[in-house]
Amino acid sequence: MAQAVNNGVNVDALLAAREALKNTPAAGEFTWRASCKWQNGTYARSSVQGFRGLGAEQSHRSEFSFETDHPEVFAAEDRGATPVELVLVGLASCLTAGVAAVAQNRGIQLRSVEAKLEGDMNIGGILGVDPDIRKGYDKIRVAFHIDADASKEDIEALVAQSQKRSAVFDIITNPTEVTVEVV
């Protein structure tokens, strides 16, 4: 059944990597990077290219660039999506990629997958109105619309497994240490 299903994920390579890492877990240490250059106001341009993994410096094929800003209702120029929206993009895309990988591994043919996200936030937090108002999201909701060759229960299991192995889901739902220094 696995041969007939093609979601475009090289599951064999992933499983082989998993086996290899069981014996040499240190080889699994990766460091991802991003850099950001202020442009003007709340407008900034971030780029991603190099990262470290498998014991060596690696590079994406080209530099990826992201422009971010605040919207007009924030008295800004709206030259890009907001950073908090990029976080939703990160979560959505991580979960979606996971759905594809798990579906491939389980022999489920996907026809379409769409994730719609909503994150609730009170901007009084970032504006300093009240220290008890959280700066980040109070709640994030993800809704998956999936058309696939599988029962509703199998699709739900698929989505549950995707969360289980999702990096961004973990980053958002669990505490992560962040250190900021001025060089």
Partner: protein
């Protein structure tokens, strides 16, 4: 078994028979398994309550009875301090002296010491911390709120017991196993046993490592044993996500609780589907009640993500975070990088003549349970006898 084959053997016990059940367990403990499942080779529960659940005294009596009945050569009060491999066999150092033998069966289990997460060191000193090995009953706890960390069988049982003592309880829930106590009129373990799920062999299980790490199901040894998160929440216990960190005196809980709840519900559904399929295929529909399904686990909207441990709301933390084995006395390099024994169905291939019993999914899903150990023992014994015979032949040929 070994006696039947006239193999000279001895059973070493650091305390008295059933030592682990005599100490380090809470007062109200009962087995999760109904009494009819308490079976060992040639010995079975013979009391008047087969559908009941043994308490601590009953368990100790049962094991002591088996030891006497099978005339097992037990040396009590004989703690083992070291086991080493010799050129031909093993050296076992005990408080009663040294023993040399050709084969060793490790039956110390996987639960020798509590596995408390490293973050316990960051808990403020004002809070009393204890593990499930220290806990006996609610009376030993100070008045006030209790944070129970871990929602496997022990965690949910003690959360309910402590809550009933009048103390507010907050339960931290990570990955867990949801099971009904009773399904279609029969105990869930009747289904596990008869449908073959419990007898599934280790070499038939796709993700064996995961199966071996599964937390114990949220059950209690009682007929009114509804211990799932819905029942606990209805009773007034606060359900929060996995304890992820303690930062500046604040306990931080994962925001992924809904996911783990969905996962546990899905897995329970799948298991019940398996039971139903088996019932249909084996024509036993007449002997059981109609198919039933259970309420999905409800997550409270916006469960708390943190508690300030310095504010006095929580006076006690009970670590119900599981156990790990203690192999400090095993002076043979047969442990993996996580400190677990490397074995194939209980046979430690790297050290011929060394075996284990009673570990999770050692040979079958039921290996850690009393009846499971009883089922695994003949197979381990067969391998062991073969090993001895092989050693004998080698010795005869002057090869060892």
């Amino acid at each position: 078994m070994l006696a039947a084959h006239s193999i000279d053997h001895v059973v070493l016990e650091r305390g008295d028979v059933g030592n682990a059940w005599r100490r380090g367990r809470w007062d109200s403990l009962r087995l999760l398994t109904p009494n009819w499942l308490s079976r060992l080779p040639g010995y079975a529960y013979a009391g008047s309550d087969p559908d009941g659940f043994m308490d601590l005294r009953g368990i100790v009596e049962f094991l002591a009875g088996y030891a006497a009945d099978s005339r097992a050569p037990v040396r009590a009060q004989t703690a083992v301090s070291r086991i080493r491999r010799l050129h031909s066999g093993y050296q076992v150092l005990t408080q009663g002296g040294e023993i040399r033998c050709r084969t060793v069966v490790l039956a110390t289990g996987a639960g020798s010491e509590p596995a408390v997460p490293a973050l316990h060191r960051t808990v403020p000193d004002s809070i009393q911390c204890l593990t499930t090995v220290d806990y006996r009953n609610p009376d030993q706890l100070p008045a006030g709120g209790v944070l129970v960390v871990g929602a496997a069988a022990t965690g949910v049982q003690l959360a309910r017991e402590i809550h009933r003592s009048g103390r507010p309880v907050t339960l931290c829930v990570g990955e867990h196993v949801r099971l009904p106590r009773s399904y279609r009129g029969r105990d869930v373990l009747w289904w596990m046993e008869h449908s073959g799920v419990w007898n599934q062999r280790f070499d038939e299980i796709e993700d064996l490592e995961r199966a071996r790490r599964l937390p114990s199901p949220q059950l209690i040894g009682a007929q009114d044993g509804a211990l799932d998160l819905n029942a606990l929440a209805a009773a007034g216990i606060e359900i929060v996500g996995r304890l992820a960190a303690v930062r500046d005196g604040r306990a931080l809980f994962s925001g992924g609780l809904a996911h783990l709840i969905a996962l546990a519900d899905l897995k329970m559904e799948r298991l019940l589907d398996t039971f139903d399929a088996w019932a249909r295929e084996h024509g036993i529909e007449a002997g059981v009640e109609a198919v039933e399904r259970f309420e999905p686990t409800r997550v409270k909207t916006s469960p708390r993500l943190s508690i300030d441990l310095n504010r006095g709301e929580i006076r006690t933390i009970l670590w119900a975070t599981g156990f790990r084995p203690d192999y400090r006395w095993l002076d043979i390099p047969v442990l993996d990088r996580k400190g677990e024994l490397r074995h194939e169905g209980g046979v430690v291939a790297e050290s011929p003549g060394l075996y284990a019993l009673g570990l999770p999914v050692l040979r079958r899903r039921k290996s850690t349970f009393i009846s499971g150990a009883g089922a695994d023992a003949p197979e381990i014994a067969a391998h062991l006898l073969n090993e001895l015979a092989g050693q004998g032949r080698s010795a005869a040929r002057g090869l060892s």
